[in-house]
Symmetry: D2
Subunit: 279 residues, 4 copies
């Protein structure tokens, strides 16, 4: 019986890579349903994503690919299936509720294993979906203690990705390093504008005519990880900072859920501080 | 000395196509700078566009590719160079002037060989660019006579593409068939809405909140050729039909010049009534 | 104690209207927080919306306004407060769930009194919000019987507005006339394109590069009522009809919830087949 | 004979302003074609723009308005007519050529009196339009000397507005103060992101998915004047810094020409570091 696989390869560019890879696929009688390649000219790095149908032995395929590819190539081969995610939130619901609904109605390529928050205000809403809600207050504990507690809960679920759906606390480098390129954040503004607190107040005071949102992988520099997706929305002088924040919620949940979807579909490569998106 | 080539292939899909094509390229020591493939699942048709650098004998390359590809495959191999175009207009300047400027400042991958119009009102402006302007009035002649005259002028220039930059007369099937998939039109609305005359009056009377423009190849059904690019712009109740048309001009010239650019860069395949765009 | 009122006036245009209206407001010591006017030049009709703060006798204010305005002027004065709505759906959840969440988290200026559907598939989800769900099957009953049953339920709730959140049955003229300019529909496409069934299949087959959604008041011509809001989203050849429909859901729920919000905020006038939107 | 006037008023907000202003207009038998008001809630400042038709004595009108308005109110009354502008450029043509064409075809509400540049590369193109081109090199002269020379040329033309259409030198505070709220700049990015040199290189290195442009009045803080208009355009990993700059040109010229148009139509108020736009 034929199955669908996703093959992700990235390595230093050299002549003949596509030929060498596809010759292995052809020999193993895989059919290529969709294929995308990209070579970053800056650093001469090669990226390829293939959707394959076939019934071959995947271990053998991996070992054959390794033989024809540069020694430090990254090769990932996986069956098409739902990923597992854990969501971190603070008090705002809009990104969380968007993801809960999409998962509930089977429109998100993921199982939401748990929601963790430093407040308990969203507990009641999350319970409607029969998903565990973990309230881990940051009060009266050190940042390290707080993160240790959260990491303990996360590790119990072994998620593929951690989604910061308006989690308003800065994660330590230690935390981030444990989940490198596995944490996705929605930033409440059009990065690199309005870094830091109260972006809609900043936007209002600057009198901007457009606001935006940015979904990105988290690295250990605040607001500086690889951008996955961005979008913007027009505003005008009639909107105050509160109304701008309301418009911002629409664009934030749209950008986060779509960025997450393409990550879950294995369509995003991280290359240094940038992403290659085969959407 | 290495040169840059663009290779366009489309044929019925079958297992191993990418492997077979890239094996030929590898044997001829071409380096693939950029590669895009797509398989249309509806009709199982395969499309591939490659940017290659190399110094090999292109005739030999073509003959080797033919050997490995299905017998009815379309294979086009060309050096990266400017295309030649002829522009048809009526009275409105905005799309024409956008293309003239881009060509003048070397930002359009094309030489504008001539401008043909059924009015002489844009003559003076075109002359500023030292480009031949042919005034072919449609008055007191039959449609066939008018088109024959225009076709005679066009054939003198042997253009790669004909651009209808707000040419407001309907071309006959005979005319179109002579330049199949070589005529690009800008439609003054968001197809398939508002087909026919006075689209901005129609848009105004319908009270729409968005207007758009569509660039498409012309086939023998009015407003029905394969769409290359579309875009939209917000309008509101304060704009009358004339002001909507003014907003429309901005989006029309933007859509046309960008659609033309990707066609000139050999990034567009036509597949029946649709396009595959590797932008 | 001061209260906030919204005053909506429309009438034939004549010299001095703003002066006459504001003189009455000034005499009654109302403060104008926000004021918008528009004169439709086509039919010389005047529209004005004022947000007022004051503590005056509203009956007296109405009677004074009537004295200075043309005899057939429409004058509506209301306290700023939540409106009541009833939602009709079929099987698709995305617009409904968006409205449920906004209402649940107090971000929609409305109470959702009930949800009515011709299928029971969304019952379980609606119950999470403790909102009555009425399943009224259209099977084995005539269209008139079906509508009569629905109208009976609606009348029980006396809603200010009825929202068709992907209700896939065409309402009769009789139904619509009972709620003139009170029924808001989301149309699954960029009107006037792709009228009728299966718009995303139509869009896919036409090979469009942009899809859209339209929120409009329902009148007795299918897909022809006054447009409140529209928006579009880019698509490309890689998306099939199903994936286009998924992209369409994002834009549909965004357009519907925002159109509804401006209606609930009394920011929309209907003028024949168009709307005047003071957003 | 009736004429069309634009009346602009701004002053501290107080009860009855609209009433008082429109009573004067009514007494002078002006008809209000279009009226827009806005009260900034932050600083309780009132803004009103009226398009009037009438034949009254405008001096008398001004004096009557002064009587009913707060003593420090700004009142501007002008006939609807073309404004005069001078354009400053460096080497890039795209914003300049857009404005030249719009003016040439009577689509810009302005006369372009002259173009001034610190390079002579655009001389030939500007001459096509029979508009004076002043080449004022910044080489071998101090910044003060350079600006003095430019100011001397500008003052000869007494323009209503100065447009920086990609003028790449920073103007001194002295220069700017002489033309307060009269200098309009196009910023090659989505402010406040990517302030400073090489914004598209910065954008590329940051791996953004959207680029933008900002038109703003110039004040004495670099890139910090009141924003008139902004817009954005999607980019992706396939575009390098040069290609992003090309996409940026499209959005820059669109944003600048539209911002300039609404300024020329007297639709923009400056309020501190923000604008009120009645478009």
């Amino acid at each position: 019986m034929e199955e669908i696989f996703t093959l992700l390869i990235d390595c230093n560019d050299e002549k003949g890579l596509i030929y060498k890879i596809t010759s292995v696929l052809f020999l193993h009688q895989f059919n290529i349903i969709r294929n995308d390649e990209y070579v970053s000219q800056e650093d001469k790095h090669f990226f390829m994503r293939s959707e394959l149908s076939g019934q071959s032995n995947t271990e053998e395929l991996m070992s054959e690919l390794k033989k024809v590819l540069p020694v430090n190539a990254n090769i990932r081969l996986s069956k098409k299936q739902k990923k597992n995610i854990v969501i971190l939130v603070t008090k705002e619901h809009h990104c969380l509720s968007e993801l809960l609904i999409r998962a509930y109605f089977n429109e998100l390529n993921a199982n939401i294993l748990a929601v963790i928050s430093n407040y308990d205000s969203l507990n009641e809403y999350v319970e409607k979906y029969n998903i565990p809600f973990h309230f881990v207050s940051h009060k009266d504990v050190s940042r390290t203690e707080h993160e240790t507690e959260i990491l303990k809960i996360i590790s119990r679920y072994s998620p593929d990705y951690i989604v910061l759906a308006k989690y308003m606390r800065i994660l330590s480098s230690d935390f981030i390093r444990q989940y490198e390129n596995k944490i996705i954040n929605i930033h409440h503004s059009f990065l690199p504008a309005f870094i830091g607190a109260n972006p809609y107040r900043q936007a209002f005071e600057r009198g901007v005519k457009i606001i935006g949102a940015t979904a990105h992988f988290v690295n250990d520099q605040l607001d500086e990880g690889p951008i996955i997706s961005q979008n913007t929305i027009a505003v005008d002088h009639k909107q105050d900072a509160i109304q701008m924040a309301l418009s911002g919620k629409d664009i934030e949940k749209y950008v986060l859920s779509n960025a997450l979807q393409i990550v879950l579909d294995d369509k995003v490569f991280v290359n240094g501080n940038k992403t290659i998106v085969f959407d």
